[in-house]
Amino acid sequence: MQQGGQPLFLARRSYRRRRMMDAAKMLPVLGAVLVMIPALWLPATTPEPDTAHGMVYLFGVWFFLVLAAFGLSRGLAPALEAEEKPEGAGEEGN
């Protein structure tokens, strides 16, 4: 079914961009799941002290999220560029 007159198949580049947007929406969900994992494994209740591991794990997740967001931002910035003209583009000439 076609909606709102959009073409049924998108060119490769727009297709990539669409999926990129999907990924951008899913990233926080994935991040939330990863962040919640310590709540299942409950560090500090384990017989061996593993707070340090827990810390390393969390910073690992954190760094992964930063990298993923960086990649997605670079991919999505052109989409913003296309949508939005910089504010006051006309005024700056003065």
Partner: protein
């Protein structure tokens, strides 16, 4: 480290901040924005999330509760990596609707209801005041660490005085740089730059202390990890509910804290900056958190028992004898505290002045939108006073609470308070069914529970809530105990309050939204918010109303400032294909004007002010359905049609304006011969009659002289008329020889004022000038320019009907253009005649007393056209107002540029 040096360094740092803010503001004023609005600066400005509570408190938090502190930074991280989803929409809406604060966002979404704005404002003030007090306390405490003999003692003889000085200094800074302009959508470049610098400062300081601890006090990463597992911190209990709850509430707070909303949405200069902040801000948070646990662990190990872990960042380097490092850490903490307070004060003062003071003022002066009065000054002043009041309240709170331990927990309490806005905000931007009633119910429910179950008990038993109520509930009703609502006991008090307040808030919001019916304005705004991405310029909220463009202009001038308002009106008129300053008051135009005003005074007030002028309650349901409504699924098609018909309408308007003018002109052309005939015959009549008298009768010498004088005078009048006609025809054919020279504008105006004083010399007439602005060189035909000035001044002397005539001459430089405004205090030129005054013989009165033939302004217009400039009538200035526009640099042919002109320049 001597205390004096600390004070000196601190003062130097403060002066540096003022300087940075000042320079940034200057650069921005000159339009050299450059890196002032780079994504990096935007990202750094977001770091006000990390207050002193982070800088000092995170280590203490880690020392007490292990890794739980990370939730406070992981929550925002999740929000930011998901920027595409929520933040982008928030920022887009914020810019499309020119939102000034979070209270304005909520008020605007729910039908521009000011009541909601007031509710959110009060909540924000209640939640932020203790938080500001906490920042003051942290700075005072850190001062105390340095002042005391031993690092453990914090006894500063006059702690209160320190806090007072800091509060005063911050108020000064915020008022200076935070209320420079009214339009909240214009950025506070100075403030943002200073905050960015402070962001760098606190990150560097914390990293430096961290590096020192890991590689200086401990033996590198491996050793630190081993020490962590060996330390008491390793025994921290992770409570899954708290872990999830805190992550959630901090994720909410990053969007709903008034100060965060301010930097995130209101100060956002470009939506694309979000793409950078999406990864860079999480990175910043990560770096801020990186060394927290190592510092806590090493601190617990090395410092004597009983040392306040909240101050390890300072006391560890001090104990190790690293005075300079401690000083850096101190500046980091100072930066964290001050930047938070500054932005919070700006955000809160905007909310208080837009939602409480201005509406009150408007209500007290009902029906007075037309009357003169400086709204702009009032709003700016109320913002300044509000800033002072917010800081005074923060200080008062600090003073009263006596720096009690209660403050330490206030960070999370404020987060939960701010999060109460979340359901109304998220519902508002994603759900069209959310209504004003639902939002009010939800907010009030959540706020009440927060107050009762978390905020008031935070003062400790025996504080604001009696121990009796805490233990047995009010009136002995057990299930209403503040920390055990509905009989559920044993929960962590924070989690308990967070759960019940947000759950019941959401429930009330949804149920009341479903059960109520939104008004037309609300539905319109709902569509505008929820569908912000697939919308054409936006739904309009006005039927074609009775508002006069001139009234709207004079009202807008009082809010936006004269120049800004005129530029806006001129732009809109040009967009409609009309010249001048008065666009047609189409619904589109009024909607745009309203949004423009909303950027200064908030949506609700802007709406109310325009409603006062147009005398209509904006849209009806029928209008609404006609305008957009839910049935507009044929949007794509109609958008195209609309674009075309708008184009057509614009052409038609331009055509009809041209046609009207042509008709007028042809009537005039027809009358032209009659006019010339009249103007020539009148003096000739006197000449002929008196010559006959002189010829035929014996007159006394005195009479003869008198009549000869009349003949002479009339002959000169005739000559003048012929000169004017010739002049005009030369000017119109652009064949005039211009003598381009350079002169000081001030001298030219003085010359004109003197020359014009011959006109009705008996008149009580004052010319007001601002000499300081007049001194600038102009390259033009100076005689011609003076001729124009003389004409305008004489006209004012002749026609200004005020008892005591006052003419204001204002000179302004706008880019490459020079503007000279001549504004008098008479009753001005009627709107109907404004289009005609520059036509030939368009004398408005028939008085020959006026002396001229009605060619003056026509000549002026031709002269200005020849000089490459323009002359316009500016309506709505409270009198007749003419604006002469002149290019600063004439495009002179190359041969004119060399030699003489250059020499003249050097002489200046």
């Amino acid at each position: 480290m001597p205390f004096n040096i600390l004070v000196a360094v601190c003062l130097t740092y403060v002066i540096l901040l003022f300087l940075v803010a000042f320079v940034a503001e200057r650069r921005a004023q000159r339009g050299r924005l450059g890196w002032l609005r780079s994504p990096l600066v935007y990202t750094l400005s977001l770091s006000i999330y990390c207050t002193a509570w982070t800088f000092y408190g995170a280590v203490g938090y880690a020392a007490r509760s292990g890794l739980e502190f990370m939730t406070i930074y992981l929550g925002p991280t999740l929000v930011f990596v998901g920027w595409w989803w929520v933040l982008r929409k928030l920022v887009r809406i914020g810019r499309a609707q020119r939102v000034t604060s979070i209270a304005d966002l909520i008020s605007s979404r729910y039908g521009k209801s000011n009541l909601l704005g007031v509710v959110v404002t009060l909540m924000a003030v209640a939640a932020s005041t203790p938080y500001i007090a906490l920042q003051l306390q942290s700075v005072t405490l850190s001062f105390g660490v340095f002042a005391a003999e031993t690092p453990e003692g914090w006894a500063l003889p006059d702690q209160g005085a320190t806090a007072l000085w800091i509060a005063g200094g911050l108020a000064l800074f915020t008022i200076l740089f935070g209320t420079r302009n009214l339009d909240a959508n214009e950025r506070h470049h100075g403030v943002v730059m200073a905050i960015a610098l402070e962001a760098v400062m606190k990150l560097l300081a914390l990293l430096a202390v961290g590096v020192f601890v890991v590689w200086g006090l401990a033996d590198g990463v491996g050793d630190v990890l081993a020490r962590i597992d060996a330390s008491p911190i390793a025994d921290w209990p992770l409570q899954p509910a708290r872990w999830a709850g805190l992550t959630f509430v901090s994720a909410a707070a990053i969007m709903t804290l008034p100060r965060m909303f301010q930097v995130l949405v209101v100060e956002n200069a470009d939506e694309r900056h979000l793409a950078t902040a999406g990864w860079a801000f999480p990175l910043y948070l990560m770096l801020m958190s990186l060394f927290v646990v190592p510092i806590a662990v090493v601190g617990l190990e090395l410092m004597p028992a009983g040392t306040n872990p909240d101050l390890f960042v300072l006391t560890l380097p001090l104990a190790a004898g690293k005075g300079k490092l401690a000083l850096l850490a101190f500046l980091g903490g100072f930066s964290s505290a001050t930047s938070m307070v500054i932005v919070a004060a700006i955000a809160l003062s905007t909310m208080v002045s837009n939602h409480i003071v201005t509406p009150l003022w408007l209500a007290l002066r009902q029906g007075s939108a037309r009357e003169p009065g400086d709204v702009r000054g009032l709003v700016l002043m109320s913002r300044r006073v509000s800033i002072g009041a917010v800081l005074a309240m923060g200080y008062g709170y600090y003073h009263l609470s006596g720096g009690s331990a209660a403050l330490a927990s206030i960070g999370l309490i404020a987060f939960v308070g701010a999060a109460q806005v979340l359901p109304a905000m998220m519902g508002g931007i994603f759900w069209r069914g959310a209504t004003h009633v639902g939002a009010t119910a939800g907010l009030l429910t959540g706020f009440a529970i927060w107050l009762y179950a978390l905020f008031l008990p935070s003062f400790g038993t025996g504080g604001l809530i009696s121990p009796h109520i805490m233990a047995d509930g009010p009136f002995g009703i057990g299930w209403l105990r503040p920390q055990a609502l509905f009989g559920i006991t044993g929960l962590d008090p924070l989690l308990h309050a967070m759960f019940w307040s947000l759950a019941l808030n959401l429930l009330a919001f949804v149920v009341f939204s479903l059960a109520s019916f939104p008004g037309p304005m609300e539905r319109l705004q709902g569509v505008a918010f929820v569908n912000v991405f697939d919308q054409a310029p936006g739904a309009r909220g006005w039927a074609r109303g009775g508002a006069e463009a001139e009234d709207l202009l004079s009202m807008s001038q009082r809010i936006l400032g004269t120049e800004e308002a005129q530029r806006f009106f001129q732009g809109q008129a040009a967009g409609q294909g009309k010249a001048g300053y008065l666009p047609d008051t189409t619904p589109d135009f009024i909607a745009r004007l309203e949004r423009q005003l909303a950027g200064s005074v908030g949506a609700a007030t802007a709406h109310a002010m325009i409603a006062q002028l147009s005398g209509s309650a904006s849209v009806s349901v029928q209008d609404l359905i006609a305008v957009a409504g839910e049935a507009a699924e044929i949007k794509e098609y109609s958008a195209q049609l609309e674009a075309k018909s708008e184009e057509l309408a614009r052409t038609a308007r331009a055509l009809s304006a041209a046609n009207e003018k042509l008709t007028e002109l042809s009537v005039q052309k027809d009358a032209f011969l009659g006019q010339i005939s009249h103007e020539l015959r009148t003096p000739m009549t006197s000449i002929r009659a008196f010559s006959e008298i002189l010829m035929e009768s014996d007159l006394s010498e005195q009479m003869r002289a008198k009549y000869a004088e009349i003949i002479h005078e009339e002959a000169r009048r005739l000559t003048r008329l012929l000169d004017d006609l010739l002049d005009l025809s030369v000017l119109e054919n652009r064949k005039v020889q211009l003598n381009i020279g350079v002169a000081n504008l001030h001298d030219l105006i003085s010359k004109a004022v003197t020359a014009a004083s011959n006109t009705r010399p008996e008149r009580n007439f004052v010319v007001q000038r601002d000499f300081s602005t007049e001194h600038m060189p102009v390259f033009t035909d100076t005689d011609r320019l003076v001729q124009v000035f003389i004409n305008l001044i004489s006209n004012s002397r002749k026609y200004c009907d005020a008892e005591r005539g006052v003419l204001r001459i204002e000179v302004k430089r706008r880019g490459q253009q020079l503007r000279v405004d001549f504004i008098d205090n008479g009753s001005g030129i009627p709107k109907k005649a404004q289009g005609l005054i520059f036509e030939k013989f368009a004398r408005l009165t028939d008085t020959s007393r006026a002396g001229g033939a009605g060619l003056g302004l026509a000549i002026c217009r031709e002269i200005m056209a020849n000089l490459g400039g323009d002359i316009d009538y500016v309506p709505g200035q409270g009198g007749a107002a003419f604006r002469v526009t002149l290019p600063l640099q004439r495009k002179v042919p190359p041969f004119d540029r060399s030699g003489a002109a250059q020499a003249d320049l050097n002489d200046l």
